[in-house]
């Protein structure tokens, strides 16, 4: 069973979730995390890069490629296998934690 204690902040969770489909650059991650969280997670740039540094250090994200767009550098980040496993485990943990409450609501409502 996945433990109830989270090892991931909400921002980290949505950053990893944003990268599940394809590598993204900084602003791409901010936009996708915002969309996927229904606008709840609004990552500031300083927060995003702090989280990316930690994720790279932990081996959950790697640099995928670098491009130059309109004279500005753009780095794309890719989720690793370990990163994919970590975010899926977190999703299961959240699901189990939610079920504790939704199950009771269902019983009380019945």
């Amino acid at each position: 069973m996945v433990p109830f204690v989270s090892k991931m902040t909400e921002a980290t969770y949505f950053i990893l979730a944003a990268l599940l489909e394809a590598p993204l650059h900084g602003y791409g991650i901010i936009k996708r995390a915002g969309d996927q969280s229904g606008g709840r997670v609004k990552l500031a740039v300083g927060t995003l890069y702090g989280a990316l540094d930690r994720l790279v250090e932990a081996g959950l994200v790697v640099l995928d490629r670098e491009e130059v767009v309109d004279g500005r550098p753009r780095r794309y980040y890719r989720i690793t296998d370990d990163g994919g496993t970590a975010v899926r485990e977190e999703a299961v943990r959240l699901q189990q934690a939610a079920r504790v409450v939704t199950g009771q609501i269902a019983v009380m409502g019945a």
């Binding site: 902040t9 650059h25 900084g26 602003y27 740039v45 927060t47 540094d53 959950l60 500005r72």
Partner: protein
């Protein structure tokens, strides 16, 4: 200057919060993302972005200060020994106002203290350890010799309480552990650590009011609370207990002295030591809670 150029210039100013090495490798990338994420009409950074950049810059500095290949506990021990040595010598070198060459009460002690602090900063454990041992034995002479002169150096201050002698022994024990440790050698620490004794000595020498009306204690308490707040922040940023360990080493002698002289203190002293202890405990809790978080 266009609005966009003004905004970029302001973002680049905020990026000074980050260490230079980080700015060199990520600065342009951060500016690129910031410009994409900003309102095209805005000439100033949003408060939220500005705060996140300052916080992110501090976190990057804290992460950047970690030496590669040195375990957290050894790094924390090194930091703790340095904090104890610099603050102890800052306060235990007596300075009198007057011509500077007459101002030092104990020139040999002062010279030894400076060499010891420099050796700790440079990570020269085998030079620092004997110097620290001499200082510890000298200041603890009351324990061994009833304070009488039996050929002991007697170059340092004379103490009669364990709490006053303890900082010197903490430095000795910390350095001894670091000396027998195997693995990568300790890094050179920032020379700005020497600002602690330098500023205190200058204040003692040049600001006569510094010694009066409890101003010294009030100032010290303020700096300590601020510094321990920064320790908590750094702990959350790097997610291990190296700074908490250093802070605990710093606190131990003071708490011991406070315990020895408990009956002499009033409510203010209890509040002061209570706050410092709480801040150090909080930094350990923060390290434990964030240790495995990403």
């Amino acid at each position: 200057m266009s609005t966009e150029a003004a905004l970029e210039r302001r973002y680049r100013s905020l990026l000074r919060a980050y260490p230079k090495i980080y700015r060199d490798s990520h600065g342009d990338e951060l500016v690129s993302t910031l410009m994409e994420a900003s309102d095209p009409q805005a000439g100033r950074p949003a408060l939220r972005e500005a705060f996140a950049l300052i916080a992110g810059g501090f976190a990057a500095r804290a992460r950047n200060a970690r030496p590669e290949g040195v375990p957290w506990w050894a790094d924390g021990l090194h930091l703790g020994v340095l904090a104890v040595a610099t603050t102890t010598f800052a306060l235990e070198i007596s300075i009198r106002s007057g011509p500077i060459w007459d101002a030092l009460d104990r020139p040999v002690w002062t010279l030894g203290a400076i060499v010891l602090m420099v050796a700790i900063i440079r990570g020269w454990v085998w030079l620092a350890l004997p110097l620290a041992l001499i200082a510890a034995l000298d200041t603890s002479r009351w324990l061994f010799l009833d304070g009488s002169d039996h050929g002991v150096l007697k170059v340092g201050p004379f103490y009669t309480s364990v709490g006053q002698m303890l900082p010197y022994w903490i430095v000795v024990i910390g350095l001894a552990v670091l000396a027998v440790r195997t693995g990568k050698r300790l890094p050179t620490r920032s020379w700005s650590w020497l600002l602690i004794p330098a500023l205190v000595w200058v204040a003692e020498y040049a600001v006569p009011i510094y010694g009066f009306l409890g101003l010294k204690h009030l100032f010290r308490a303020g700096v300590e609370v601020l510094a321990l707040g920064v320790v908590i922040w750094a702990t959350v940023a790097i997610r291990d207990a190296r700074w908490a360990l250093a802070a605990a080493l710093y606190l131990i002698p003071g708490l011991t002295y406070f315990g020895e002289t408990l009956l002499l203190h009033g409510r203010n002293a209890f509040a002061y030591w209570g706050v410092l202890t709480l801040l150090v405990l909080t930094s350990f809790v923060a390290a434990g809670r964030t240790r495995q978080r990403v």
